[in-house]
């Protein structure tokens, strides 16, 4: 595969960057995330997660099911702050 392929579309991270980091010893999803911001964008790793975990599995000889993904954090999808504020006030009334 072309190494310039974008793996994380939220933060423009290429396959080459991911592979280089794994070579340098950043071999967990969380470590790669903190250097590249992959998984921190609006999709919250829904696109890049599997791809990066597969790269880690291939490079380290582990089974992909043993690779830990990031902690899934709320909210599940992006929500406007104004809507949250409105709902919070409605509940107070």
């Amino acid at each position: 595969m072309d190494e310039n392929t974008i793996i994380c579309r939220c933060s423009d991270v290429t396959l080459k960057e991911i592979r280089e980091l794994i070579q340098e010893g950043y071999v967990t999803f969380d470590e790669i995330k903190r250097i590249t911001r992959a998984g921190m964008g609006p999709c919250q790793g829904k696109t890049c997660g599997q791809l990066i975990m597969r790269e880690i599995a291939n490079a380290t000889g582990q089974n992909i099911k043993d690779i830990k993904f990031q902690t899934n954090r709320p909210p599940v999808v992006g929500v406007k702050l104004g809507l949250i504020a409105k709902e919070a006030r409605r509940n107070e009334e």
Binding site: R37, P42, P74, L81
Partner: protein, 382 residues
């Protein structure tokens, strides 16, 4: 894993990495850093990414100023291949009561005595910096253009890589489970991966520092407390400074990626090590932002998370060596500003360990101040 080291540092956050770098730079061989998870996985990696010189105590002002001056040249000094993303667009502190305005004036006097270029601003001047700031509810503001944003992951990575190049060894996913003391002297550290004999142990575990101190029977008055943060989707640059209020209880800054990072404290937060997110936080945060910075409430929040402040009674850190256990050193209790003090934590601790002349005299931040009662309370923490 090595079974012998000159120094073992517990904690792979900004403090541990900075201490390792400074000791290595001064020629200490055989430095081992133990991190129970991965580098920057604790409080540093969860922090709000802001750095400021605007504090209320002389000690905090001095440490922050010197740290920020380091950060201005961090990429070069640490020879970092990436970028620590330091952006100095200032901190705009806003006050909504006359009482807080008085506190700002007192703080600025302290700040000026330490060479911090802060100033009071009128509401009109504040609005020139952040045009959509709702000044109707405010009385005034304070500003310092040297304050700003810094990427915590890259900054810690920069210290980590620099220390590693100088020979320090980092063992991640390796937890200190016990400390061996013989005849009042540290002789080694037990980990989940084996024993390392050493005569010097540095406790840089911040949120977990009390657990480490308990291993050697050193009593510290610090406790951990959850603080929460959220981040929005990225948008075009629209806000230069961090906007912060102690009384309205919030801070909010636009990162260089365009996301807005914001957080607040909760006075009813119980002590503990819990880092789960709560819906109460996101609701209170959303209401506050809608009131103070209305246009920001049109942005989508994409993630919320929590981290731990390690609090001391005067909200200033403790840099010291233990009196009753020779070879045991502590750098803890950063009370929410350990990331911004990182460079000085490394310098000060290396000087205490190597018994060198201090760059900044931090002897006031000793452990015994809590017994003698010589406390200088920091009034400016969210």
């Amino acid at each position: 894993m090595k079974n012998k080291a000159e120094v073992v540092i517990i904690g792979g956050g900004i403090s541990g990495c900075s201490i390792a770098y400074n000791l290595a730079k001064k020629g200490v061989k055989d430095i081992v850093v133990l991190e129970k998870d991965y580098i920057c996985s604790g409080s540093t990696g969860r922090c709000g990414a802001g750095v400021r010189m605007q504090w209320g105590t002389e000690m905090n002002c001095k440490i922050a100023k010197k740290s920020i001056e380091f950060y201005e040249n961090a990429n070069e000094i640490l020879q970092y291949e990436r970028d620590v993303e330091f952006k100095q667009k200032g901190y705009l502190l806003v006050a909504d009561t006359e009482h807080e305005m008085e506190q700002f004036k007192k703080n600025i006097e302290v700040q000026h005595s330490c060479g911090v270029p802060s100033k009071m601003l009128s509401l009109k001047e504040a609005k020139e910096i952040v045009p959509y700031l709702n000044t109707d509810i405010l009385k005034g503001a304070a500003f310092c253009d040297k304050d700003g944003f810094l990427n915590p992951f890259h900054t810690t990575d920069a210290f980590y890589r620099a220390a590693k190049r100088l020979g320090a060894k980092f063992y991640t996913f390796t937890e200190a489970t016990g400390i061996k003391v013989e005849n009042g002297r540290v002789t080694g550290v037990e980990t989940n991966k084996g024993f390392i004999s050493t005569n010097v142990v540095v406790n840089a575990a911040n949120a977990y520092a009390k657990n480490i101190c308990d291993m050697v029977g050193v009593d510290i008055p610090a406790y951990s407390e959850r603080h929460q943060i959220l981040v929005t989707e990225p948008v075009e640059p629209m806000q230069d400074p961090m906007v912060m209020s102690f009384r309205l209880n919030f801070y909010i800054q636009q990162s260089p990626e365009g996301t807005f990072i914001m957080g607040r404290g909760d006075e009813n937060e119980p002590r503990g090590l819990k880092v789960a997110s709560s819906w109460q936080f996101i609701e209170e945060m959303a209401k506050t932002i809608e009131l103070v910075l209305p246009p920001i409430s049109k942005l989508r929040v994409i993630r919320q998370w929590a981290g731990l402040y390690n609090m001391t009674p005067d909200k200033q850190p403790i840099y010291d060596k233990a009196e009753n256990v020779e070879g045991f050193y502590i750098a803890l209790g950063f009370s929410g500003h350990g990331f911004m003090f990182g460079p000085i934590t490394g310098i000060a601790m290396s000087e205490i360990i190597l018994e060198e002349e201090p760059t900044i005299d931090v002897s006031m931040l000793n452990l015994s101040r809590f017994k003698t009662g010589r406390l200088l309370l920091e009034p400016s923490v969210v």
